[in-house]
């Protein structure tokens, strides 16, 4: 796999209940999810990754209705998570600011008007993957990217892919020698705050996984927001974070690391690695 300096890509949940209610599900499901996190973390170590680009989404925890960024990159100080109830200790997370600023500038010059955060305080969508996957590997820096897949007005899936592609092209023009991994976080089916919260649509989740296995971003993009909300809840729209990551990485296929339907965590939890066909 050779995509500039990007050497790995993973899709994984950022379910906050994994942190706040770690033992709520049956033990075998908990163990499987923990093992999946550990496997991704081990891959970051094996591949000598030194920078991760983490794709998350706001949950009305960072921004209120007075300002809803469509996509935002953290180029400076990064700290979190902001939610005390997660049970994850708030801390400063090192950024790769030179590369983040390069991605920002490349975007400005090529049709992506980033919202920019110089002092980003992140929520669980960055906090959970960083805690379970990145933190165990010393020395990895984190570039956080937020897209608005959590609440309306949602970024379109097409635009999520396009901005992701822009990030991939930016990295390809970066003259640094970093070894970079991309983490697309969130999903799969879950109904956050909706009447069906606690439901998991495993059949739909496995359709999404099959699309990723085939590297079929077009079929994921073709899913309408209305269809996703109906079949997978508002949280299902977080597959846009996956689509964004697929855009960064370009044409790859997916390999399933693990999948668990976990009503206790109100979520279908999918873990995948993106690899060359």
């Amino acid at each position: 796999m050779h995509l500039g300096q990007i050497v790995a890509g993973f899709l994984l949940p950022h379910d906050p209940l994994m942190a706040s209610m770690p033992d709520a599900p049956p033990p075998e499901k908990v163990a499987n999810c923990r093992e999946a996190f550990a496997r991704i973390s081990n891959r970051l170590h094996e591949l000598e990754i030194d920078t991760v680009i983490v794709i998350g989404d706001d949950h009305y925890t960072l921004h209120g209705p007075s300002c809803i960024p469509r996509y935002m990159i953290g180029v400076g100080d990064v700290e979190g998570p902001v939610e005390q109830w997660l049970g994850i200790e708030r801390r400063v997370v090192p950024n790769n600011s030179p590369l983040a600023e390069h991605i920002m500038r490349y975007g400005f010059e090529h049709g992506v008007d980033w919202t920019v955060s110089k002092t980003l305080e992140f929520d669980h969508s960055i906090g959970v993957p960083v805690e379970y996957v990145v933190k165990p590997v010393p020395g990895i820096r984190t570039i956080p990217i937020y897209i608005n897949s959590g609440f309306a007005p949602f970024i379109s899936s097409r635009r999520a892919y396009e901005v992701g592609r822009n990030v991939g092209l930016a990295v390809a023009e970066w003259d640094g020698n970093e070894r970079i991994a991309v983490l697309g976080t969130g999903g799969i089916s879950h109904w956050v705050g909706m009447a069906k919260m606690g439901t998991v649509n495993e059949v739909w989740d496995r359709h999404v996984i099959e699309f990723v296995e085939r590297g079929d971003a077009a079929s994921l993009i073709a899913l309408t927001d209305e269809e996703i909300i109906r079949e997978a809840g508002n949280g299902g729209l977080e597959i846009k974070n996956w689509i964004f990551a697929m855009g960064v990485l370009g044409p790859l296929v997916g390999e399933v690391i693990a999948y668990e339907a976990v009503p206790e965590w109100i979520c279908g939890c999918g873990f995948m690695e993106l690899k060359a066909a």
């Binding site: 949950h59 009305y60 925890t61 209120g64 209705p65 007075s66 109830w85 959590g150 609440f151 309306a152 109904w191 956050v192 705050g193 909706m194 009447a195 919260m197 606690g198 508002n234």
Partner: protein, 88 residues
Amino acid sequence: MSLAAVEKAMWDLGASVENRERFGAFPDEFLAKYPLNAAERDMLKSWDVRRLTDQGCDPMLAMMTWNAVVGGDQTPEYMRRMNTPPSE
């Protein structure tokens, strides 16, 4: 319905302990700074999350605000309300 104002009030409550304390002590006074009608104020004071979301408030915001104001340990009550259709 001034949906944006309802969502702004909810978000302000979720974001600030001081706001929650003021709302808890003087709900009408707190809500008076938002352009809300009587029905909207009542929905917020009674945390009628079903009616709020039926009328367009974001469910994620409703739950985050509920967790902050009512309590994260009150999720079963939140779900009971969400699954109880409005009486009228």
